[in-house]
Structures are given as C-alpha cells and as structure tokens.
C-alpha cells in the first residue's frame, strides 16, 4: 500500500508579482466557470463577452458599485478586527428606513436642499450604527456570537421595512403597491448626467463613497485606532496583553461599519428609487455581496474601490442577462462566489507550498 502524505511549508518569500497575478488568474478562472454555466443555458461566449464589455463601461455598474463599496469598506473595518459583521443587509435597510421616514414625514418642504440631504445622511449613518451597536454590545458584554446576532437582525429589519411599506407608510398615490409615496424634491439626491442623459448614479453618495474609502484607509493604516483594530484582529491575546480595551474596539468597528452601510441604504432610497420599496428590493442582497467585495479588496479600502467596481460590473451584467437571455439574476452569485474562493485559495498558495510525498 502506498501512503500519500501532504504537508505544507511556508514559502520563504511570497511568489513574485502575486499581488497582480492572483487577482488576474482568479478573474480568468471565474470567467471560465461562468462561460460553462451560461453555455449550458444556451448563452454563447460571444454574447457573454458583449454583455460583459458593455457592463464594463456602463454607468449602471457604478450605480451598483456605490452601495457595495460603501458597505464593503465598512465591513473591512470590522473584519480587520476579526469581528464578523454579517449584518450589512440589515444596516443598509436601517439607513434606508430612517432616511425614508424623515424625508416623507419630518423634513419640511421649505428646508434647503443641502441641509435636508446632510441631515438625512447623518440620520442614516446613525441608524446603521445603532443597528450594528446591538450585536456589538451583546458581543462585548455577553460574548454573544456576532455572526448569528447580525444575521438575525437582517431578517428582523427586513420584516420591519416590509411592515411599513405594506402598512402605515404605503403610498397614497401608488395604486396599492407596497411602497411609499415619492419623496419630496428637496430630499432627493441629484443624479449624474452623461451627455444630457440622466444616469442612476447619484453624485453625493458617489462622493461619500470615495471619501469614506480614503478616510477609512487613513484610519486603518495611519492612526493609533487603526493599529489597535489590526492588533486585536491578529490576536485577541496580544490585544489583551497589550492592555487594549477590547470592548471599545468591538463597538468602534461595528459602529463604523454599520454607519457606512446605513449611508449606502440612504443613497439607494434617496438617490435611486426616490421612495421606500419592499425590503428584498431595497438591498437586494447587497449586504451579503459586500462581504465578498471586502475580501476581494483584501480588506484594504483602496482595493475595495476596485473590487466593488468589478462586482458592480457583474451585478449589472446579471440584470442584463436576465432581461435578454432569461438566465436568472441569482446566477451572478455563482460567479462572485467562485471568484472569492479562487482568490483566497490562490492567496494561500502564494504564501505556502504543499509538499506531497508518496510512501510505501
């Protein structure tokens, strides 16, 4: 009998150019898998590349990248601290809900546009933060697993939003559809125009997205806070030994990541839909996709700008394919998932090498 033994060895240094080769080969592998999957459905490669290249330059890719990047940057802060916030979906909904409620019922139509928008963003940030604060406190005080508590809150938030759009907030001018009335003009975010045509990209959230990526990059990598977050993320023991106040770190990262997701939610309802709609459509799984975005960007806000854009392209491609070929939108999840898996395993293989021995 032969016995196969697999051991691993840490490479003395990473493979050369791995920062460039790994993402590229991941993209190639996941595109190949996508081609097979779509081929079974009768979509030929030519059509796939046409839809793909159209999506690469389509404004709708940036429109989807905005909520993905905003939430993804926030999640990266939490993941750097090894805090597993899976609740971006619920935090996006919280931001959307609070922004909608204020826009519909509390912001007077006479309030200046800029003031109204600023107020709504702040409120949405706080709403997302508060939603993330509950699991943060439960973790800091009672050691409750944040994966589960954040997931549970996603479903609870979904039900709250649906209760409101089916019930008390249902629009009077919406023919009974489960959505609120259109928001007043002074609360709607201005949309970018390209060549005289309006796009679904709203300028203020786009600016916030870029700004927050830069600010979070600086916080994570250039400040004492960021240092403490990373130390705690690498080793809880080291953080305790170094005398860090762990509960503060947990609450800080959760509040930041929830707040940014809240901003994404506000951007969706104020800048794209102009009304609050059913929960499944407001966030449309972006809170989960943002987890992939964060990891593909290597938990680095600047990397996330790129990965978020790329996933935005895939999302936009998914909707186009659904309309023109009947491939269900959910199929995009197979692409994003395989992309993530190839990336993290190649990343591992660039740092470690397997040694296979056959023994008799």
């Amino acid at each position: 009998m032969f016995k196969i033994e697999v051991t691993i060895k840490k490479r003395s240094r990473e493979l050369p150019y791995s920062g460039f080769i790994i993402p590229l080969s991941s993209i190639i592998i996941s595109i190949s898998i996508s081609l097979i999957i779509l081929g079974l459905y009768g979509v030929d490669p030519g059509k796939f590349f046409k839809v793909f290249t159209t999506a690469l330059i389509s404004p709708s890719s940036i429109r989807y990248a905005i909520p993905l990047i905003l939430s993804g940057v926030g999640l990266a802060v939490a993941y750097k601290a090894n805090v597993w916030n899976i609740g971006a979906e619920g935090q996006i909904l919280a931001g959307a809900l609070v922004a909608s409620g204020l826009a519909l019922y509390y912001i007077p139509p006479t309030m200046p546009h800029e003031a109204a928008i600023l107020l709504l963003y702040i409120a949405a940030f706080l709403a997302g933060s508060l939603t993330a604060l509950i699991p943060a406190i439960l973790k800091a005080l009672y050691n409750v697993n944040e994966v589960l508590s954040t997931l549970m809150i996603n479903y609870i938030m979904m039900q709250i939003v649906n209760y409101l759009v089916y019930g008390p907030w249902r629009g009077k001018k919406e023919y009974g559809y489960p959505r609120t009335d259109i928001f007043p003009n002074n609360t709607i975010l201005p949309q970018l125009e390209i060549g005289g045509l309006k796009t679904t990209i709203n300028i203020p959230t786009l600016i916030l997205m870029i700004g927050s990526a830069i600010v979070i990059y600086v916080i994570l990598f250039k400040t004492k806070w960021g240092y403490e977050i990373r130390v705690y993320g690498l080793s809880e023991e080291a953080a305790r030994y170094g005398g860090l106040e762990i509960w503060k770190i947990i609450i800080l990262v959760m509040v930041i990541s929830g707040g940014l997701a809240g901003l994404a939610g506000a951007g969706e309802v104020l800048g794209v839909y102009k009304q609050l709609i059913r929960a499944e459509r407001v966030s449309a799984g972006f809170g989960y996709t943002a987890i992939i975005v964060a990891w593909l960007g290597n938990l680095n806000p600047l990397g996330i700008l790129l990965s978020g854009y790329f996933i935005g392209v895939l999302v936009s491609m998914g909707y186009t394919l659904q309309i023109f070929t009947g491939v269900p939108y959910g199929t995009v999840n197979i692409f994003t998932g395989t992309l993530l898996l190839t990336l993290i395993s190649l990343d591992f293989l660039s740092k470690y090498s397997p040694v296979i021995r056959v023994r008799r």
């Binding site: 697999v6 409750v144 549970m152 479903y155 959910g330 199929t331 898996l341």
Partner: protein
Amino acid sequence: MGFVIGVLTAFAILMIRDSISLMLAAVGEAYAERSGILNLGIEGMIMLGASIGFVVTYKTGNPYLGFISAGLLTGLLGIIMGIFVISIGTQQHVTTLGFTIIGSGLSVYIYRLSIESVGGVPPTVEGFPRIYIPYLTDIPVIGPSIFGQPVAAYVVVLIVLFLHWIMEYTKLGLHIKAVGDNPKAADTLGVNVFMIRYLAIFIAASTAGMAGAWLSTAHSNMFLPNMSMGRGWIAIALVSFGMWNPLKIILGSLLFGGLDALGSVAQTYGRNIPYQFLQSIPFIVTILVLIPIARRAKVPKALLKPYRREEAE
C-alpha cells in the same frame, strides 16, 4: 370546543413540520462544528437542496429520489467546500459564507435551467404522501401531527436519531469530537483528521440538502428562491443552544418549530397582529436565547482552526 381543537391541531401539525427541517440541518451542523468546522454555507445548501429535491421530484415523480439526490449532490458541494477549509485551510467564515452565496446562485440556476416557467405560476409536485394509521391518526390534535405527517418526516427522525447514536455512542463519534477538540493529539493517536473532517462536512452538507428537499417536496410542494428564509442560521444557533449534543438539538428544534407554528397560526386566527411581526419572532427569540448561553457554551476547541501538518523548518 371544536374551534380550539382545530387551532391546536393546526399548531401541532405545523410545529412538527417546521421543526423537521431545523433538526435535520442543525444536527448536521453539529457534526461539522464538532469536527472543527463552522459551516456558514448551510443556508445556501438548504436552498440548493430545495432546488435539487424539487427538480428531481418534478422530473421523475418520485419524491424519495428527490430527497436522496438533494442529500448526495449537496453533500458533494460540501466535499468541495472541504477542499478549501480542510485541505487548503482557508479562513472558515468567509469561505463557507461564499458557499452560501454559491448555493443560492446554483439553486435558482438549476431550477430555471430544468423547469420552464409557466406564466408566472410556480409549478408544484405531488410530494411525499401522508401516512395514515387507523385509530392513531384519528386521535384529535396529536393524531394528525404525530401520526399523519408526510413519510419523509419519519425518515428524518430516524436519520437524526441515528446521527445522535453515532455521535454519542460510537468510536466514530469519539473520533469526530477528538478531531474538533485537539486534532494534533488525534493525529498522533492515528486518527485521520482530514478524513474525519471530510466525513463530517459531507454529513453537514447532505443533511442541509435534505432539509431543503423537505421544504420543497413535503413542507410545501413548490420551489421558491430563498425559500430557506434564515432557517440555516437558526439551525446554527440551535447547535449552540443544544450544546453540540444532537438529542438536545432535536428538542431545541421542536421548540423553534413551535415558535414558527405560533406565528403561522396567529396569522390565520389573529388578524390584528401584523404578520411581519409574527414572522420575526423566531429571529428575536434566537438573539434572546443566545445571551444566557453564550458565556457557558463549550465551543469545540479547534473550531475555526485549520489543521495543517507543517513541514519542519
């Protein structure tokens, strides 16, 4: 009186029906966690199982075949997941969550690829027949709920009891627990850590798949995207709630099945309560029960830690 019995019967039937998918998925998840792997892929695997179970039943007219295919094929996805989290040893949270995302994608893809949509109305299947035992099934309340469920329910109960027996009373169970607590020691004693983990992850994935098939061919008789509706996450919570012991997890599942059923029954009979509130009860309760158990939970010591035989420097 007739009304009360009617309500109670509806409640009891639904409680058992809701708890079946939970106990199956949760006991499987306990296998994964006991061997050292947190399977956050469970939610997507339930969706995938629901899709495969439905499609096979629809094409062949045989729900048993649907149930078995869902178990085996989702189990296969579990093995693929194992390549990442066991052999390569990637970070478990993000890898297994990736599998939930892939599973949800595969579920709609496979369904749409195999079944032509007919004017927006989702097609249905006959599904599993309900058993009928003379006299027993006729007992009010407990008759239809305990002796009148679809056949698959009894199969599931046998599976989870069998899994309990394996985990608590056999050498294999001992090995699984050893691998999840101290893989290095287990390896030294000659236990094949990798093999045991692959087996555990296969069991976890295939039970999740079968739980999904139960949803689409017995609990209801159609497939809907995202039809697991968070059941996978509740199953993970049930594992800690049941202290990683299959029998306690089964009891916990009955409790949560009861909560689900309470919501459904209240929705039918209590028209003033918004149903969105009733639907969120299981999620609210999950958070509440996690608080007291979090501190005293005895988490398998090697959970989340990949086992590697490192080459000596």
